[in-house]
Symmetry: C2
Subunit: 224 residues, 2 copies
DNA sequence: CCGGCCAGTAACTAAACGGTTACTTGATGA
DNA sequence: TCATCAAGTAACCGTTTAGTTACTGGCCGG
């Protein structure tokens, strides 16, 4: 909070509390991006409405086009921001700090909890895949934003193999995809699943049970 | 083929080969449904275009509204048809015929291969979940079309537990969701995954490897 | 203190969209 | 054989949509 540009000089800017809605490019830009994230994740690319985004952001279409060019570029920014979000969070994670088994469990827990906390990210992934990664593929920003997890995961698995606790055939990408699969499907398909099986999957007890299940399955699939 | 209504009576209908495109309500209806399945699975509910469906079906909008009411009802028919498709295929499956382990493996293989063969079903599931199962929930037809697999799966698991090959905590729904997760995620997210990991997931060798992986993971998670 | 630039507004436009109307064509049974 | 009704066509309609234009107002450097 309280960012006031490059170095506070002469006078402190007076900004009366009763008129917060003065000019503020960064605030407006951020508001549009947040509103767009909601709109796109709730309605997909085809269902999202530019007018709705402007209204949700408390501004108007002109600003949206001013800052982001057009609907597609705005969507791309939203998608990029979402990827940056999970990659940033991943950086806090150090799965090599403890035992290999604990490391894998930690990765599974992190992924599951991140998905659970950010359903809009899963929704955007779904939209992007519906369109065959049309925008992701043309994103220069995301091309240089790889997940470093595969590297770390490879090391953890190798340590586990040498210690004799993991099977030799355990593959890093497979482990990562397994964890992601179990988390993604449960959350993104909760509505059809709950309807068909007549069981509320988002109840606390069920969520906790699935969390334990993911860790169990992942470890069971690679343990000797 | 060769369905000619209720009982062939007096004369065989002459239908000259050089004028196939005569009146044929069933053909037109089916063509619209097929075209709609493609359009909805490729573009989602919001992105699908009624004009595009009519054109793909080789007919016009009037017929579409004639047979299905409006866009939403047409979408519901498409969704229902897709569910009927997988449920019908499931009926061929008898996972209790052999050993418990083979039964589970068979279920995993069936699910994976069905998903692989019918990506449009996965896409429709994605669209439906984006909209929080809005249409699925209001479908009377699908309410009485449960998967019988959970029942059969319960029996197979019980037999395995009694034989001492499966752990006592193995839960039918969890097993089913595990299998579905691993298949669904790999296929529906292939585009973003391939882009990010720089590896073509749909290459034959990778598909085969993942098929084996699903069976391995599923069994490893429930074996004693 | 003021000129130019940028944040912000609102009304507008052309095209696309879902859905309808007015009409034609062809099969069928009394 | 012809009245009837369903199948099928095409042009049309009102609304919504992404994107634009013409304008207002605040702020900062010279």
């Amino acid at each position: 909070m309280g960012m006031d540009g490059s170095g506070e000089k002469k006078i402190v800017k007076r900004r009366p509390a009763d008129r917060v809605l003065q000019r503020d490019p960064e605030r407006t830009r951020a508001a549009i991006l947040e509103a767009a994230t909601k709109e796109f994740s709730e309605n997909g690319m085809g269902g999202a409405r530019v007018d709705a985004i402007a209204e949700r952001a408390g501004t108007n279409k002109r600003m949206l086009y001013h800052y982001f060019g057009d609907k597609e570029q705005l969507y791309l920014h939203v998608l990029e921001e979402a990827y940056v979000g999970i990659r940033t969070a991943e950086r806090e994670l150090h799965i090599g700090d403890r035992s290999p088994e604990e490391g894998i469990a930690e990765l599974a827990l992190f992924t599951w909890r991140y998905f659970l906390k950010h359903p809009e990210f899963l929704s955007l992934l779904g939209t992007e895949n519906l369109h065959r990664a049309r925008w992701l593929r043309q994103s220069v920003r995301l091309k240089e934003l790889h997940s470093h997890l595969i590297v770390e995961l490879t090391q953890v698995l190798d340590r586990g193999k040498q210690a004799g606790v993991f099977i030799d055939t355990a593959d890093p990408l497979n482990v990562y995809l397994t964890i992601a699969s179990l988390g993604y499907f449960y959350i993104s398909n909760q509505y059809t699943l709950s309807t068909i099986f007549g069981r509320e999957l988002t109840e606390k007890t069920n969520l906790d049970a699935w969390e334990r299940h993911i860790v169990h399955v992942t470890l069971a699939s690679i343990k000797t």
